[in-house]
Amino acid sequence: MNAHAKQRMQIPAIYISLSMLILFLVIFFIGNPSFFKRYNLLTIGTSASILLAVGMGQVFTILTGGIDLSVGGIMSLVSVIFMALLNDYGLMAFPISLAVGVLAGFINGYLNSQLKIPSFITTLGTGGIFVSVAYMISEKPLSAPTSAFKMLDIVNGMSFGFKHIMFIAAGIFIIFYIIQRYTVTGRNILLMGSNEKMCWLSGVNVFWIRIIAFTLSGLGSGFAGILLASTLYSGYPTIGNVYILNSIATVVVGGTALTGGAGGVVNTLIGALIMSVLNNGMNVIGIDVYAQQSILGAMIIIAVAVSFDKKKVTVIK
């Protein structure tokens, strides 16, 4: 076949994701007009904020062509440590917990680069380890000490009609956007996902770039763990479980290719909105809670099937 004839019109994945978001909004509005009530929108915003934080990290690992299955474990560990430190360390609990997330991500990245084995295996393993450490710190849920209520109330408070957590999420988004768009490292992460061999031949330190990508994922999960614990006023070792699947769904539904190299943080912002609108809307229009899981699962498969670059992978593993 003539290679020129094969060039089809390419619609950027981001427009597909945007249309999907709008479609869902319309469906849920028709299904139940109170979907657009202020209170409900704030609920969606809160869950989108946490999804955004963990998705911001996850997207960098997926952009390199890897995946981070330990985000749930990191979130759980961070939430437990955060709660454990709040009483004695007060405000300092925030940076320390965040550092734990970053360190966890660094360990993931280092293992991947050093051992050269698929990241889904290393992070599957480390994810289990992080959860186990969280259990060793506290097997029971840790609740926020009353002394810290004031601080956590600020996270959950409101200004200008928006929840504070949404402002925090916006800040996190800006940080990751700058990393992706305006730093050499961010550019190299994307290039490496597109063509690792070429990057190596062009002198890119692929060893470190991969470590940085996973460290960023740890940072995102750290943020997400703190935010989640703050909204719930507690932390426990299973708190992050659902975010393993949800973070990956957020990234791929936003249109970032699992094969790496295409997509990014803006896509993931839309993905986070789609996921939280969908989660919330299915409840609002009264879809059976067990059926919801099937719809989410199907969504992920469709999103990946659309964005997956089949040319890059000759053998489907």
Binding site: A3, I178, T183, R187, L190, L191, S194, S202, G261
Partner: protein, 504 residues
């Protein structure tokens, strides 16, 4: 003689190249047909057409008098046409028996289960036909290259028998490159025997071997049939002349733009070696010099280039840049020494094809395109525009994805990327591979300009003519040894024939 394969006006094109230009070819029963031609003459395309991997654009392919309808090499095997590939393709962790009958195991199913002992017996018989006296339960990883080849031949024979095709056609692609002389002799003795009930197509660079062992020789050049002759009337010199052709009159490689290099050395290589791949060799490249590396696959020239590009590490010797010893352990080191590597496979190793022209051109110098510590979109665009203009890259915009550019323009992007990084020495691995004629000339022009600016170029080209036409000097390598250094001044380019004899 009966024909088994008949090609009529066989035409096959790829974007930018006409690989087969519409010729007729008959292949007869019970013959060994030697097929010769330079790299790029169309041999591989022709073979892939015969085994159904490619379909002809125009023309007819008749197999045993019927139009051939196979769509894959698997179909071809069932029609009694098979190929033993240069690299060999068997599952090394499995036994000979398993490899012989791979994907045809249903022939041995009795009552729903595989009859293993029957398989083994059948394997023994099949191996006996190629005089391979070896336990069929041996894992293929323990076989010598010669034995592996025999197993593949035995497999093709068995398959054609299994599918009831008389006179199978077997294509052997460079069968002797991995063999010792004695093994090669055995191979040809067996082939001579097999030919009593089969047709063999022999592709080889070793012309003596082709003349000695085939019945008829067909010469291809530039995708076209040149001539054929009975092997007993052929001579090595005669075939070489036909292969190379005599169209070197006139200017093809911008010879008039060739300049004498400066006197200063940029690169000096002393006793560089990779043990077991190429022997210690020394040479130097002057500023403004174009140096061609010439030799067959396996001569060590590819690996030599990889040492310069930092892809492979030499086991001994020194590399000096501007008289200073440099240690090149990785591509990063070679970039630091101002060496750029333009790989043979642009799409896989030279470009991020999902990314746009600007991203690819800028990727080596991102650190210099910052303003206040952050990448500046403005500076990126300015640099990309400069190079698009400078290198005559034809692209709708600097934000066009590289996958949407033609091969020639992709190559210009890769070259620009290295020039933007101020590379002083470019290693060009087949720079015009798969590029159409017009774009080729622009690349030649660019190569000349780079040399005139005082940069060094080390090249491995697609054809010998290209090497001769472009270079100031030529290093000829054979079996891991530097055998000859040849000057190629613009006024008196050497004849391809004298070089060919040093290569082969």
């Amino acid at each position: 003689m009966d024909t088994v394969i008949e090609l009529k006006k066989a035409t096959k094109s790829f974007p930018g190249v006409r690989a087969l230009k519409g010729f007729d070819l008959n292949i007869y029963k019970n013959e060994i047909l030697g097929l010769v031609g330079e790299n790029g003459a169309g041999k591989s395309t022709l073979m892939k057409v015969l085994i159904g991997m490619y379909q002809l654009d125009e023309g007819e392919y008749l197999l045993r008098g019927q139009p051939a309808k196979m769509k894959s090499s698997n179909d071809a095997i069932k029609e009694g046409v098979g190929m033993v590939f240069q690299e060999g393709c068997m599952l090394l962790n499995m036994t000979i028996t398993e490899n012989l009958f791979l994907s045809n195991e249903q022939a041995f199913i009795k009552n729903g289960i595989l009859n293993l002992s029957e398989m083994r017996n059948e394997a023994k018989t099949a191996l006996a036909k190629v005089e391979l006296n070896i336990d069929p339960q041996t894992p293929c990883s323990r076989l010598s290259p010669a034995q592996r080849q025999m197993v593949e031949i035995a497999r093709l024979l068995w398959l054609s028998e299994h599918y009831g095709k008389d006179n199978p056609v077997m294509i052997l692609d460079e069968p002797t490159t991995v063999l010792q002389q004695k093994e090669a002799d055995t191979l040809f003795r067996i082939l001579d025997d097999i030919k009593k009930h089969a047709t063999i197509i022999l592709i080889s660079h070793r012309l003596e071997e082709v003349i000695e062992n085939s019945d008829r020789i067909v010469v291809l050049k530039d995708g076209d049939y040149v001539t054929e002759m009975p092997a007993d009337q052929a001579s090595v010199e005669g075939i070489e002349e036909l292969m190379v052709g005599r169209n070197l009159s006139g200017e093809h490689f911008r010879e008039s733009e060739q300049r004498e290099p400066e006197t200063e050395n940029f690169l000096e290589v002393r006793n560089l070696t990779i043990e077991g791949v190429f022997e210690p060799m020394s040479f130097s490249v002057k500023k403004g010099e174009i140096l061609s590396l010439v030799g067959l696959i396996g001569s060590g020239k590819e690996e030599l280039c990889q040492c310069l590009a930092g892809v492979r590490r030499p086991t001994g010797g020194e590399i000096l840049i501007n008289g200073k010893n440099v240690l090149i352990k990785s591509p990063k080191d070679s970039i630091r020494s101002r060496i750029g590597y333009i790989p043979i496979d642009r799409r896989k190793e030279g470009l991020a094809t999902d990314f746009d022209v600007a991203d690819n051109i800028n990727m080596l110098i991102l650190n210099s395109l910052k303003s206040k510590g952050f990448l500046s979109r403005f500076k990126e665009a300015a640099n990309a525009k400069k190079w698009v203009k400078e290198a005559l890259i034809k692209t709708p915009s600097i934000r066009t994805k590289c996958r949407n550019l033609s091969g020639g323009n992709q190559q210009k992007v890769v070259i620009s990327k290295w020039l933007a990084a101020e590379s002083q020495l470019l290693v060009l691995d087949h720079p015009t591979r798969g590029i159409d004629v017009g774009a080729k000339d622009e690349i030649y022009h660019r190569i000349r300009l780079l040399a005139q600016e005082g940069r060094c170029l080390i090249m491995m080209c697609d054809t010998l003519e290209e090497d001769i036409g472009l270079c100031n000097r030529m290093l000829i390598m054979k079996d891991g040894k530097l055998v000859k250094i040849l000057n190629c001044p613009a006024a008196e380019k050497p004849e391809p024939l004298e070089i060919l004899s040093a290569i082969v």
